[in-house]
Point group: C2
Chain length 376, copies 2
């Protein structure tokens, strides 16, 4: 299934991109005056194979959540239980991602791909009874894109990764299962009508495997790829760098084998996000990337299928240094750059109106001819 | 009336800002993880004198339009008639600002403060019969904030400025009339319920007086303050720089006399925007700045009343170099930086969801305590 998804990913459509560029030249605005929005709209035309491309409506943010064995190395000041507690917060609508999703009219799907501790469900929805074997919601697709009701999907591959300083974080089969969960979530949301997917993540300690993935895929030094995550002190930061360096030296991941990289130094949510991106690209639906976790997953997706980059839109540039390295490697420019380092999908949601606006121009703006405006 | 507006502008409220900072520390997110959004929400609390500050709903973009005698110097490749033609496009809903305003749910008010040629009204609304003496809409305030119906206000002070290379662009009385029109538009929109004002502009040739204003208020060299506007060639660019330099040498505007600066080297829409900003600041309503025209007007507003900066939010950083000089002088960081150079209010509208999101966090996000999430 991973192989068929990869095989379905094709390059952008040159004719649609040319049509979008030509249309931009006729709209009532000076040529090029919308800056980066113009090229963004051209790329989305190429992805859709149509000019104008569809408006990215019925947005869906998928928050993949997992825990990390490397937490035992003291890479985060937060207790591991906070992963599960924050899922309960997402389901109750109390997190920043919920506030931003309500504002943007985006649906929130939380996918437990590897949480280690019980999710406090008091006051939240029950777990999806379909369990990990299928992420399809038994209530049918109508509810999937309801922005008012966050949804939890149980697709737990294993209760947290192993400690990547000691052994591989995951087996190859587990990594594949997580990637394929991401593909299935993408398919499900797109089948329900989502016009754009947004990446989200939750996992205490997950910036450590993200740094290892980014170092592995870009060749950057661990010190350059590692950041302070949710705000660690100098000693913890140095420990994070040492942990990332030790993991890379132990496993020597091969960047041309993305499943191997994800298995040895990755995380379950990172692998699932790579799958979500691949799934969106295969369906030619844009995927709006959040921060450093998304960046690490995007590098894996690009290693699986280089043309997947055509479906990616970089929502924001996280304050985490690894995010910048990932975007540079992918040759993507971020839409928002405001020093966010929260994750959850918050940066992607902030950027969503920019993406919609870029496409809306091609739908709604008058031409010089139709508006009776003289050209220079 | 200008004097009473200036006298009403007060500093930000320290207690409300302290309350917002304290609340941020209790919300379910790592401290500081929302980057620039946190300080933005703190400033808006200080402006409102309340924590949380009101959500910036019922947004209104005010597009001030004027023409420029300096157009005769060949500073723009566009015919002067395009100012009036674009107003007709705004009223027909066909411009980029309309597409972005519809998306953001913002009302569009076009104010003719000095258009030189007849506005083609075929298919558009009639001019406001109240004329220039009052900008109050006789249809009452209900219609003023309707996002579906762009509105034209006739407040023409004179049909375009004089050529600032030959004489003062405006008399002091004309400059004052334009500033006070801006104040009245702000009052009218706020009385109708607007929770945030956005600056917009239209005026072929208006980046030339903007560059002169920015050079006058910041002390920057004309070459540093002047850009290519809607896209002029090298020869035209050099002519623009020479024109700005000649105007500054002829008039030697005193930056501590903002009315004198606006009169000698400004424009009617620049002056009116300064008034809109002052009017918003006096009412303690945030004003979201668009690009380089807004930046030049914001410098004038800050020269009238330094505390007016507290009401300003820099929507985006225009590709025009003068915009960066203006924001630096005002110590404002832009929310969006995507190389836009269109004007109309488009950059401000793109940033509106970011402002709303920043405030929404203070309204809607759960605390660690209420959500049962452990702290580090």
């Amino acid at each position: 299934m991973l192989e068929s998804t990869i095989a379905a990913i094709r390059p952008l459509d040159d004719a649609a991109m040319a049509a979008a560029r030509e249309l931009h030249g006729r709209l009532t605005k000076p040529a090029g005056s919308l800056g980066a929005l113009e090229e963004l709209s051209v790329r989305l035309a190429g992805l859709a194979g149509a000019c104008p491309p569809p408006l990215p409506e019925r947005a869906a943010v998928a928050i993949f959540a997992g825990d990390h064995g490397v937490h035992a190395q003291g890479v985060s000041p937060w207790p591991q239980e906070v992963t599960a507690q924050m899922i309960a917060n997402f389901l109750a609508g109390g997190a920043v991602v919920n506030a931003f999703a309500r504002q943007a009219g985006a649906a929130v799907t939380v996918v437990d791909v590897g949480v280690a501790t019980p999710i406090p469900t008091a006051g939240t929805e029950p777990l999806d009874p379909a369990g990990g074997a299928s992420v399809l919601d038994p209530a049918g697709s109508a509810r999937l894109l309801d922005p008012a009701v966050p949804r939890l999907v149980d697709a737990n591959v294993r209760p947290g990764t192993a400690d990547l300083t000691v052994t591989a974080a995951l087996t190859r089969d587990e990594a594949r299962a997580a990637v394929e969960t991401g593909v299935r979530v993408a398919d499900e949301l797109i089948d329900a009508g989502a016009g754009i997917l947004l990446t989200g993540d939750m996992g205490i300690g997950n910036t450590t495997p993200a740094a290892a993935l980014i170092a592995a895929f870009t060749g950057a030094d661990p010190a350059a790829a590692t950041g302070r995550g949710t705000g660690v002190d100098d000693a913890t930061y140095q420990r994070k760098v040492d942990v990332v360096r030790a993991a890379l030296e132990r496993h020597r991941p091969d960047p041309t084998d993305p499943l191997g990289v994800l298995a040895t130094v990755g995380g379950l949510e990172h692998a699932a996000l790579a799958g979500l991106i691949l799934g969106a690209a295969a369906r030619r639906v844009p995927v709006l990337l959040d921060g450093v976790i998304a960046g690490s997953a995007a590098l894996a997706a690009a290693a699986f299928a280089p043309d997947a980059v055509g479906a990616m839109v970089a929502g924001h540039r996280s304050a985490e240094p690894g995010a910048t390295l990932a975007l540079r490697k992918l040759a993507l420019d971020a839409l928002i750059d405001l020093g966010l380092r929260l994750g959850e999908g918050t940066g992607a949601l902030l950027a969503l109106p920019v993406v919609t606006g870029a496409v809306r121009v091609l739908h709604e703006v008058a031409t010089f001819d139709s508006a009776g405006v003289a050209e220079k």
